[in-house]
């Protein structure tokens, strides 16, 4: 990579300046000579400002001053806007990159300077990059990315540096600085970012894996228990279903058998009805027979005793007709009167006399039966009734007979019907039907019970299956967790492996780079130096501390002169440039400022060798660029410039012109 030119407008002391840096493979050096404060360092600043918006090398003279050229500012009208611009064109491979940074400055009516944030950068400046590839021109929307790619900001200090500050490498914390230099030049930042990223990823994975605690064993065990229970329940269910099926089959068979048998129910009902009727008829018959018996037993004496009855009735009847019954007076009454000796009329009949004789005559005439006349009258009536009864006997008896015959007929008919029904029923195997019906009912009851048990068992199975489904879902989740955990663990392992590899690579690169830098530094230092016999070794140890050994093997870093330190630093910078492989041009401000006069000749002679193949822009003082130095560098110098600096009341202006004009 080479810088084709730098173009500055209103940047610091440069009002309008373009400096070309043409180099060839043989003449890769550009020398810009300027006195103290002429603008050499601001050339370096112009480059860093253009690339990164920073001016790290700004001198005390310009600190606090506006970036805009003071003359230009002075010329600006109040309220006017002007710009500060630095444009650098780089050639890299077959492309040309034009990088331009512009800052808009407003001069307020009060004369104050204000930076306008019109650009795409944080500081308000506008950074633009165009690239020309062949005939095509491209404009980059993310210029910072291109800058990072071409000249990373982290390592610019190893390309664009102040020679006077090189010595700092070997002061306090040198090891850290060298390590940082090697780290940065090795482009290990990317690897470090990878490592950091992997660490973050690993932490996240570990955190996530801790949250994922699979409980597979418990779920599997629970599932096993549930499955066993289900198997048992299913066996039970199958057994029940088998029994149910067998029962239903048997019921079907019984039903079929019963279906083929004639319907006995109406017959049985008729039989029962007839049976009851028979019973009723029998009772009725018995009643009538009993009644007839009673009647016969009652009437038989009256009929058999007919002669006595009628004879007695006749006698009493005649007595009645004769007026004997009832008698006028009862014999016993007369006897009582006589016994009393007093008639009912009050006549004394106790003594013999007419009255007494009359009574006795009456007594003589009075029959004995007069005493039972009442009885005879009653007897007459009773006998009359009996005679009436006898007369009615035939009718009543025939009535009984008729009734009996009718009942008997009815009874016979009923019996015949019963016989007929029983005949039909006999044809049917009633016992078997009863047995079958009983069996059918028993099966029905059994099947009802089984069905209920089946329902319960099925319910239990469903519930268990639901539980298993839930457990399966849980298991799936847990397996997924396990898978996730495994995946997380794999990822953690992978991360660890990546980290190990990245760290190893990093360390290896660091080590390789350190070794290479050590080797190159030593080689260049010893070749550049003039005390080749005094110093024998340059070492960069594991802690990146640089040490220089003398011919006696003793540490000589502390005894190095300022010039020797500058040379060692240049050797180191040269080394890391070579080792880095970056094609960046080198801009060194005051490279030989601290080197004594004699060694500068040596350095000048060796410098082209240090940075072979690289464009090197040396910003040197008149003193540094002594005729000896110039002559020794001349073969490698493509172009020489000198800065002419004018300072007036209105501001300072530097102008870069060909050397010697």
């Amino acid at each position: 990579m080479k810088i084709d030119y730098i173009k500055m407008k209103n940047y610091r002391q440069y009002r309008n300046q373009k400096i070309d840096f043409p180099v060839s493979s043989e003449k890769q050096f550009i020398v810009v000579v300027g006195g103290m404060g002429a603008g050499k360092t601001n050339l370096l600043n112009a480059l860093t400002w253009c690339f990164y918006g920073k001016e790290p090398h700004i001198g005390t003279r310009y600190q606090g001053l506006p970036i805009i050229n003071t003359s230009a500012l002075d010329e600006m009208k109040k309220g006017a806007i002007d710009t500060v611009e630095v444009e650098v064109q780089l050639s890299h491979e077959d492309r040309k990159y034009r990088i331009k940074r512009t800052l808009y400055i407003l001069k307020s009516p009060e004369g104050e300077i204000k930076v306008l944030s019109r650009g795409n950068q944080k500081d308000g400046s506008q950074l633009e990059i165009w690239a020309q590839i062949g005939k095509n021109v491209g404009y980059f929307r993310d210029p910072s990315r291109i800058i990072r790619k071409l000249i990373p900001e982290d390592i610019y200090q190893y390309f664009l540096f102040d020679g006077e500050r090189l010595n700092d490498y070997f002061r306090a914390e040198a090891g850290e600085k060298i390590k940082e230099a090697i780290f940065k030049i090795s482009q290990l930042e990317l690897l470090d970012r990878v490592i950091n990223h992997l660490e973050e990823v690993k932490r996240d994975l570990v955190r996530r894996s801790k949250k994922t605690t699979p409980d597979i064993q418990r779920i599997v065990e629970q599932m096993e228990i549930e499955k066993k229970s289900i198997e048992e329940k299913k066996k039970e269910l199958n057994q029940l279903l088998k029994h149910q099926k067998e029962g239903q089959q048997r019921m079907k068979e019984i039903h079929e058998k019963l279906r083929t048998i004639p319907d006995i129910k109406p017959l049985a009902e008729e039989r029962e009805k007839r049976g009851k009727k028979k019973e009723e008829l029998l009772n009725k018959l018995d009643e009538i027979k009993e009644s007839l018996n009673k009647y016969l037993v009652e009437m038989a004496p009256q009929i058999f005793g007919w002669r006595a009855i009628t004879q007695t009735w006749d006698i009493i009847d005649k007595a009645k007709e004769a007026g004997e019954i009832p008698p006028d007076i009862k014999k016993n009454f007369l006897k009582k009167l006589l016994d009393k000796g007093c008639c009912i009329c009050g006549t004394d009949i106790s003594r013999e006399g007419r009255a007494r004789r009359n009574v006795l005559n009456l007594l003589e005439e009075c029959n004995e039966i007069t005493n039972i006349s009442d009885e005879l009258i009653r007897l007459h009536i009773q006998l009359s009734n009996m005679m009436e009864n006898v007369k009615k006997f035939s009718e009543k008896y025939i009535g009984y007979e008729k009734e009996l015959n009718e009942l008997k007929k009815e009874f016979r008919e009923n019996d015949e019907k019963i016989e007929e029904i029983e005949g039909e029923l006999k044809k049917i195997d009633l016992e078997n039907i009863g047995r079958l019906e009983k069996e059918y009912e028993e099966y029905q009851l059994e099947i009802n019970k089984i069905s209920q048990t089946i329902g319960l068992t099925q319910g239990q199975i469903d519930s268990m299956e639901n539980k298993i489904r839930q457990l399966e879902e849980d298991l799936e989740k847990e397996l997924a967790n396990e898978k996730k955990l495994k995946s997380l663990n794999d990822q953690v392992t992978f991360c660890k492996a990546c980290l190990d590899i990245a760290s190893k690579i990093k360390n290896e690169i660091m080590e390789e780079t350190r070794n290479a830098v050590e080797e190159k530094t030593e080689k260049q230092f010893l070749e550049l130096g003039w005390k080749t016999k005094t110093y024998t070794d340059v070492k960069i140890d594991n802690n990146y501390n640089i040490s220089v050994k003398d011919q006696f093997g003793l540490e000589a870093l502390g005894t190095l002169s300022a010039g020797e330190r500058q040379l060692l630093a240049l050797s180191f910078i040269g080394a890391i440039n070579k080792v880095s492989g970056f094609e960046a041009p080198i801009v060194i401000d005051t490279p030989l400022g601290r080197v004594a006069e004699e060694p500068t000749k040596n350095v000048a002679e060796k410098l082209p060798m240090y940075f072979k193949g690289k464009q090197v822009i040396l910003l040197v003082t008149d003193k540094e660029y002594s005729p000896e130095v110039r002559s020794r560098l001349s073969k490698a110098v493509s172009r020489e410039y000198q800065i002419k600096f004018k300072e007036s009341e209105r501001g300072s202006i530097a102008e870069v012109v060909p050397y010697g004009e």
Binding site: N293, K294, V297, Q302, A308, Q382, N385
Partner: protein, 146 residues
């Protein structure tokens, strides 16, 4: 000679068992010993078989008070008829019932034969009895109409 109605009707001591046996027959089912007695009495009267009781059953056959008015009237009419229509016999109640006992004693064998023997030959006694009675009543009716 006047006498009071006896308390108890007697039978021959040896006939008590026969009374009991006849009481088990269908014709007398649900009836009392008095019914067998009356039946035996009228049969004895009809067939003129009047036999004195040689040895009375000590406990008697039944109480006279069990007899209803119709039965008593029948007993009285048989006594009157037996005494050739002399109503005065009714004054001697003991005699009246004694005549009845004697006819019953004589008629019991007839009843026995009729029930236990004839039944076997012809059929149920009530049927036979019914037939007899109907025949008797027809005869009575014929005589009455003359």
């Amino acid at each position: 000679m006047e006498s009071k109605e006896p308390d108890i009707i007697y039978c021959q001591k040896s006939d008590k068992n026969l009374y009991d046996a006849l009481a088990d027959e269908d014709i007398f089912k649900g009836l009392d010993l008095k019914h067998i007695f009356i039946m035996a009495m009228v049969l004895g009267f009809r067939e003129n078989k009047r036999e004195k009781i040689q040895q009375k059953e000590p406990g008697g056959l039944f109480r006279v008070s069990y007899l209803n008015d119709t039965e008593k009237a029948l007993i009285k009419s048989i006594a009157v008829s037996t005494e050739n229509g002399n109503l005065e016999v009714l004054l001697d109640k003991k005699k009246v019932y004694s005549i009845a006992e004697e006819y019953a004693n004589g008629g019991l064998r007839l009843l026995k034969n009729l029930i236990l023997i004839d039944t076997e030959k012809i059929g149920s006694f009530n049927k036979i009895l019914g037939g007899y009675l109907l025949e008797e009543v027809n005869k009575i009716s014929k005589n009455e109409s003359r």
